[in-house]
Subunit: 676 residues, 2 copies
């Protein structure tokens, strides 16, 4: 079926190994060449090198139905080396995904197109994850495989039984996050995770020998993986390797495919020159000739396109059979699965939250907000079987493990609590993968300071619009003796700076429950809870059903009538502000204390509410963190009682005193500001 | 020499393997137990488990002289599992480091002491790096070993010839950064790097089997390491293993020591309960009894202390021999080494900078600031042999490789350019290690968006006060088609929020040279250069020797007399602000344009200068990034022409237009603000 014989004898030799697959792959190569040339920007090398593998994978193995792209039990495909995006777009167009039109391919990397430089989740069906930041694709795929296994255990493998396929390159394996993900997958024996490694010996800086000389198969074996090697341009060998990978169900599989980057380009194949630059018109023509490809740009010969379109509906029967199996399930199971996949909360959810609130008002507690989080998690996880917990090896500190999730996720039993290990980035990427898969609300803990390690995964949660929940405890110098390496200073500011992320720093047990409620309801915005190590009194004592935290900020205490000064505080410092306000009021000042658990939620309130809450009086902010950013609400950083530099190692009380985050300091500054 | 026989027969069995070493180790264990108990906070388990190894390492192998702790050719010791800090403090006290007094040990984790919860670089001699954030210790050690090899090649192994030893635990190996570091070390064959792995099968969440089940030796072998396993409580076996590790000079060495966490504690040894909590008085007594340790708290029997003190001066002769060899060197070599180690710039440095400046004024260039950086690097690296470059596999994009450093650092030849691979975090930690080692000014590149991956290493640069230089290109939506995953939005704000980091976003070729000059002179503050992909005109045209960038901000253009409005911009947006100012002036407004390459430097200026520069007129900020933080200088985020969310994939001009970062938008807002 190749339209023409490859002109290059070496290519002809490869083509002869599986001519049909070679022809299918050529369609991917041709589209990739043309689109990158048209955009005059992009990465042709990887799509050209991995095209044969993609043709085998989609042609013979992937369970999918291009006409029913939302089929929950479809196989997942994650292009971890996202710069190879044209490979994915080509396949989606060729197999007939409705939204991936030829026009979109022609508009690769243009404003308003769904064919962005790197695959963007939500732009088109069939893009299962936003990839490009290397190593995170495999991290998310691990999460998908984790989710699949548990969902199958809950609802039966007659309706949940699919693979997660990943393509990745050297970059994903050089990145630490890629290693964290692979290590976790090996540990948990995720047998339905199959990784195709584009071993092309080329990175941007030249041959991989510049920086990477590992025995990759050996390393993966040491991490408990099933490992094979094969020629990445031999369709039959690839087919056999994928078949064998599927047969091994107790271990994740790595297929190291020896490939030539830019396969087909006479002058650039095998060189880093083809990694991230268009071939150009002349080389494109030469490459097509070498590959035996004829015809105008962007045009796929009808016969070949028909072949691809047939692949696109190859899964149709399987899809309908799945629908029947689902229909045959008892109604309650069907409805529950539907609810879970649709990310709807159960009918009794509101009542559960209300009961938890009432309990707090009936029996107020002084508690660290991490402890308050544990208290909140108890009823919430009991009510929401979709919540799946975990920690990056700080369970006892994060207090993320509560009775309802007290079953360990092991290689034998997919429980509701995941020991992610000391892998904050891997945890966060995996949680994104769990979110993407559907059926679950993942939450995971670490210390706030180590949000640094996970930062780009938090960013991807926000960029993709996923409701991943980050539980970040030990949220200030209040962690005490562990010292400056463990004390977050700039972290609240740096997280607030991320678009589309809700940062919540609750002040007491009530606000912590409210924060959890917000995080759980927010299925399309990630939430990050910053929680304290140290105890705080319960400040909210008057029973009410209104989630005040959802307003972002509100007057939690008013001393006197009107305001001489407004104290704005977050988290553990709200209680301190209240103490200072009491002292100021005793000295004759009228003071409002504003608790501000979330800047993002507050800024989303109507202007009138914001003005009323902040008031016209001079304002002081109190937060045991860096002052950066507070000028959004106060006149100057001089009006912030906070940290000017890094912390120190000492008991908590001493630290607050030495760093001047005290009642006296607030009182003194308020008096100075107001002249009273 | 044990003062008493261990009461526990299993311990007695271990002690009998090397009684003298066991006694030395007991001193570490006793001090660690007492200090953690006194602080009622800390991690006794790891020091107790690794004490035998530490006794062997310091007792028989480490080249050091406690009386001359700054000896440049001392072996380096990095405690990568920094929570085991009491192990290090104990050894420093026992060997007689002057500043590590018994009082300091007694004040473990207290305000003002040098014995912080985790080892803090600069607190005491013998603390070679700040550790605690897991995995970064080994990352920095890789940098130290890299530096040692190159410095030896430059100055001779008669004066530079030392090992770098690391102790680490499972956590460091679970972290991706630990894997990046190990992979790079294996690739470069850093034979003088020797890692002692505390394989105690315990993490905070319980047995490592919860989350970690790799064949660690197999994995390290696959990464090109020399690997041994031994009993971590057998002094003789440890001695033999370290001896063998030193003998293997072509590969880094891993010694997997099977240890018992909390070794000696009858009720807690081998359990996660001893990881991060004090033993308590009773268990401490039982542990000491089991170990055969008698006497009051914090007291080391005189004979044993004398043994330790003798170890402390074991290296004295070697130190003096080294001094003699150094003295025998030709004066120019000696002086140059001295200069390099003292972090002094060469005498002709100022002239080199001036010549580069003059060239720019003589022949102004339109260039991307990354290109301007390359232009600056050419003379600077030629003048400064201590500059050692690199990139996380983005050399051609970062433009970090210039003729003077155009020699690859390989396993055979320690050149001046390091291919760090796609390992941003590993690169950054290694650069910190190079800085710590001394003799070099490391700089390394990646895309600004991937500062996320390296973030906690950047933080550690700042916390330690190291002059590491980060070259972060593609610093805005100006990178265009790669799209939102590659476009930094919140990154400038999040980096500006880090204390003690100088963020520089230069506007043109002159400011870029000035930024480099600042970064190079700043040997105790890290610098981060945010550089553009796209061209900008040279705005600074009038020859001058004054480094205006060092002021942080300055009036770069004044249109008319006085000000109706002030436009503050950074980097590529300064030229845009100038265009807008021209248009506004044509419409009759008086406008000052302030270029603000560095907030930190500006805020360090005298108040009068700051007031004068910012002026009293309404202000508008222009920066193609998130608006967070700009309220430090403008009245409201409404007055920032910047980004409100993530970017998109499209050609650059389209992006600026669609996101409203245009001359017209600035003009319109200025008119609205001024009512003119």
């Amino acid at each position: 079926m190749p339209l023409d014989s490859p002109k290059d004898p070496k290519i002809a030799e490869k083509a002869a190994l599986d001519p049909e697959n070679f022809a299918l792959a050529n369609a991917i190569r041709a589209l990739s060449i043309d689109a990158v040339n048209a955009a005059n920007s992009g990465h042709p090398g990887a799509p050209m090198g991995m095209a044969d593998a993609a043709a085998v994978l989609f042609g013979k193995h992937m369970k999918f139905d291009a006409k029913n792209p939302d089929w929950p039990d479809r196989d997942r495909f994650v292009l971890s080396n996202g710069h190879a995006s044209m490979l994915l777009y080509s396949v989606l167009y060729l197999t007939g995904y409705e939204d991936m039109t030829l026009d979109q391919i022609k508009n690769f990397r243009q404003w308003g197109s769904i064919t962005a430089g790197h695959p963007e989740y939500g732009h088109a069906k069939g893009i299962e994850a936003t990839t490009g930041p290397l190593g995170q694709g495999i991290g998310m795929a691990v999460g998908m495989a984790l989710a699949e296994r548990r969902l199958a255990a809950e609802f039966g493998d007659d309706v949940v039984d699919h693979h997660t396929y990943v393509m990745l390159g050297d970059g994903c394996l050089e990145e630490g996050i890629g290693q964290e993900a692979a290590s976790l997958a090996g540990h948990l024996g995720l047998g339905k995770l199959i990784v195709l490694y584009d071993d092309n010996s080329i990175t941007i800086d030249g041959p991989t020998s510049v920086s990477f000389s590992e025995d990759v198969p050996g390393r993966f074996r040491a991490m408990g993986w099933h490992v094979q090697s094969c020629d990445g341009h031999d369709g039959k060998a690839l087919d056999a390797a994928i078949t064998a990978a599927k047969a091994e169900t107790s271990k994740p599989s790595l297929i190291a495919m020896k490939t030539i980057i830019g396969f087909g380009s006479p002058n650039k194949a095998g060189s880093y020159a083809v990694h991230g630059s268009p071939l150009g018109k002349d080389e494109a023509a030469l490459a097509k000739e070498a590959l035996g490809w004829t015809g105008p740009e962007f045009e796929i010969p009808a016969e070949l396109l028909a072949k691809w379109r047939a692949i696109g509906v190859r899964g149709e029967d399987e899809f309908h059979a799945w629908e029947k199996r689902l229909a045959a399930k008892p109604a309650d199971q069907r409805e529950e699965l539907d609810r879970r996949l649709a990310r709807r909360l159960p009918a009794d959810y509101d009542a559960v939250v209300k009961a938890a609130r009432d309990k707090l008002f009936a029996d107020p507690k002084k508690a660290a907000t991490r402890k308050a989080s544990q208290m909140a998690l108890e009823p919430l996880t009991a009510a929401l079987p979709e919540m799946i917990g975990g920690s990056a090896d700080l369970t006892g500190s994060n207090l993320t493990r509560v009775p309802a999730v007290d079953t360990q996720y092991t290689r034998d039993e997919p429980g509701r609590y995941i020991g992610y290990g000391v892998r904050e980035f891997g945890m966060s990427a995996a949680m994104n993968g769990i979110s993407l898969h559907g059926g679950f609300i993942p939450y995971g803990g670490t210390f706030l300071v180590f949000s640094d390690y996970a930062r780009n995964a938090i960013r991807l949660s926000a960029l993709m619009g996923l409701g991943t929940i980050y539980v970040m405890t030990h949220d200030s110098i209040g962690l005490g003796e562990d010292g400056p390496t463990h004390q977050p200073i700039e972290h609240l500011a740096s997280l607030r700076a991320i678009p589309n992320l809700t940062v919540l720093r609750p002040a007491d047990t009530v606000e912590t429950l409210e924060a959890w409620d917000i995080a759980i309801r927010n299925r399309h915005v990630p939430s990050l809870l910053a929680l304290s190590r140290q105890d705080v009194p319960q400040l909210r004592l008057e029973a009410s059903d209104e989630n005040m935290t959802a307003k972002g900020a509100y007057v939690i205490r008013q001393f006197g009538t009107g305001r001489d000064v407004t104290l704005i505080a977050t988290g553990t410092e709200v209680a301190l502000a209240v103490e200072a306000a009491e002292a100021l009021h005793a000295d004759g000042l009228n003071v409002a204390v504003v608790s501000m658990p979330s800047w993002e939620l507050f800024d989303a309130q109507p202007e009138a509410y914001r003005k009323e809450t902040l008031g016209d009086a001079p304002r002081i902010a109190v937060e045991a963190a860096g002052k950066f950013g507070w000028t959004r609400y106060v006149a100057s950083e001089d009006d912030v009682i906070g940290m000017n530099g890094f912390g120190a190692s000492a008991p908590i009380d001493r630290l607050y005193k030495e760093f001047g985050i005290t009642k006296d300091a607030i009182v003194a500054h308020a008096k100075k500001l107001t002249g009273k």
